[in-house]
Amino acid sequence: MTDPVLTVRGLRKHFATGGGLSRAAAVTVRAVDGIGFEVGAGEAFGIVGESGCGKSTAGRAILRLIEPDAGEVVYRGQDVRAASGAALRALRRKLQIVFQDPYSSLNPRRSIGRALAEPIEVHGIAGSAQEVRARVASLLEEVGLPADAAERYPHEFSGGQRQRIGIARALSVEPELIVADEPVSALDVSIQAQVLELMRRLQAQRGLSFVFIAHDLGVVRYFCQRVAVMYLGRIVEMGTAAELFGDPLHPYTRMLRDASPVPDPALRGRMPRIEGETPSPANPPSGCHFHPRCPHAMPACRERYPEETRVGGRMVACHLHSPSGG
């Protein structure tokens, strides 16, 4: 990989829930508990995991939509966590987000044209009102929407179209990296493919990098070059999409892969179900968080969290593969 665009190290976010004015009843939820990865220029990096594993929190913490508690986020040599004021605003232009819910992500009271023009105006990207209009028109064209969409309001569009509008809005400030938080999971399957196709085209044309957050392995396998698998706030395995899904090292990755629908009828019927339920991140199991559900659990798994180990080009955190364990 060439120089990374984005480097994340030891990122952590814990939430205190409950309580109220007094902190007595508060419970700490370790939503993101020390994760690290790099994203190269023009690369699509996937983060997968079941709901509640902290992947969305991670995406928001990178953009400081949620302030992380600890760790480093470096964008092109610049410390994102230390930025404030004008520097933060400049960074916000470069790092954008596309949301999961195409219904809640657009302000129902603003026309599409105004929604797209607003960021351009706020950041002073265009010189004149005429130029703003021209940019809005070209954004709409780029995401495959008719020019008259600018006059209309969000409720007049379908979910897929709204997601295109959300993408256009993210593009309006000319970002280099987009955090896509489950961008297609709320859409019909047929629409999913179209939106993914659009994002892939934008990736190629604009040289965009993506942090692509999803729970659907099929989508991640299609869209991402490299993938990290998250379980209860930590990355358990990370590597290229081909390696990771071709030959999963971590039992959890294997379980996820085997549970996702495979378009090969010959493999049907051999699919094991995911066993057990995800424990609460407020009270994760001791040692390796996965051990209660793991078919290969050993005594060591209960006692300490496995080290992150390099296996080939991959990273895995599992006692089966750690040099000391096994």
Binding site: L65, L88, R89, Q100, S104, E118, V122, R169
Partner: protein, 282 residues
């Protein structure tokens, strides 16, 4: 945008007869206040010692008071005070209270809890007592009256603005705004505010009724706009001294206050039913 609001208003009213009646009555009283110079006939301040305490007649429709002033003329002019004081007070409460609720809900956390506790305490004071004390301390003048009545209505507006803010701020377009580098001010006033305005406006029509009542009550106690300016509450106060000889001095202003409050209550009731389907038919 304006057309859409109007269209929605008609849609709301179409289904609710009482709000139509309320609106018509309210508009009529507003028209009376606006047209006072043309429909009052005589000067409401002009005294006529010879024609004092005259019962209603063709010349003086609602009779004359102890200074021989025409009650009808005073009633028509008095509408101006009732309306202008209450509308100003409610506008002030709406802007200040609404902003408090908006900011408090948006900021959230302990700040929000603290602000809302203060508002709850303010809310537990009876509006009349609070208004009474404030005007007493500030001294009676139209401006102070407006401030006092606005203060009594501050807490409900803060509450009503906060509730939808809490919901709207969780919507992803607010987060998108932050990601796009918008300032908090822009997010609050450009993105959140338009989404909560309708709830706050319904509240305004309901609290207008309370504002009118408090203004009239304070005037009756003698803390209203100073005489000789005619106010409905003040007219009743003066008339009360002559209640044995000249009951009309109390009857007509009393009915006027009743009509105004009733129209606002009907209007607010209908609006609330229409905007909150849960409360329909209440």
């Amino acid at each position: 945008m304006t057309m859409r609001i109007l269209a929605r208003l008609f849609q709301v009213f179409g289904t609710n007869k009482t709000s139509w009646v309320g609106l018509a009555l309210f508009v009529a009283i507003c028209a009376m206040a606006l047209l006072a110079p043309w429909i009052a006939g005589t000067d409401p301040l002009e005294q006529d010692i010879i024609a004092k305490l005259r019962p209603p007649s063709a010349e003086h429709w609602f009779g004359t008071d102890e200074f021989g002033r025409d009650v009808y003329a005073r009633l028509v002019w008095g509408a101006r005070i009732s309306l202008s004081v209450s509308i100003s007070a409610i506008t002030l409460a709406l802007v200040v209270g609404g902003t408090i609720g908006l900011v408090s809900g948006y900021v959230g956390g302990r700040f929000d809890m603290l602000v809302m506790q203060v508002m709850d305490i303010l809310l537990s004071f009876p509006a009349l007592i609070l208004g009474l004390i404030i005007v007493a301390l500030l001294g009676p003048s139209q401006a102070n009256l407006i401030v006092a009545i606005a203060l009594t209505a501050l807490a409900p507006f803060a509450r009503i603005a906060r509730a939808p803010t809490l919901i709207v701020k969780e919507r992803q377009f607010v987060e998108a705004g932050r990601a796009l580098g918008f300032g908090h001010g822009r997010i609050l006033f450009v993105h959140v505010l338009p989404n909560i305005v309708s709830e706050v406006l319904v509240m305004a029509s309901l609290w207008m009724a309370t504002a009118v009542r408090v203004e009239a009550s304070l005037s009756f106690i003698g803390l209203g706009v100073r005489p000789p300016t005619p106010t409905w509450g003040g007219m009743i106060r003066d008339g009360f001294e002559n209640i044995l000889d000249a009951p009309w001095l109390c009857i007509y202003p009393g009915l006027a206050i009743l009509a105004l409050i009733f129209s606002l209550n009907m209007l607010g009731d209908g609006l609330r039913d229409a905007t909150d389907p849960k409360l329909r038919g209440e």
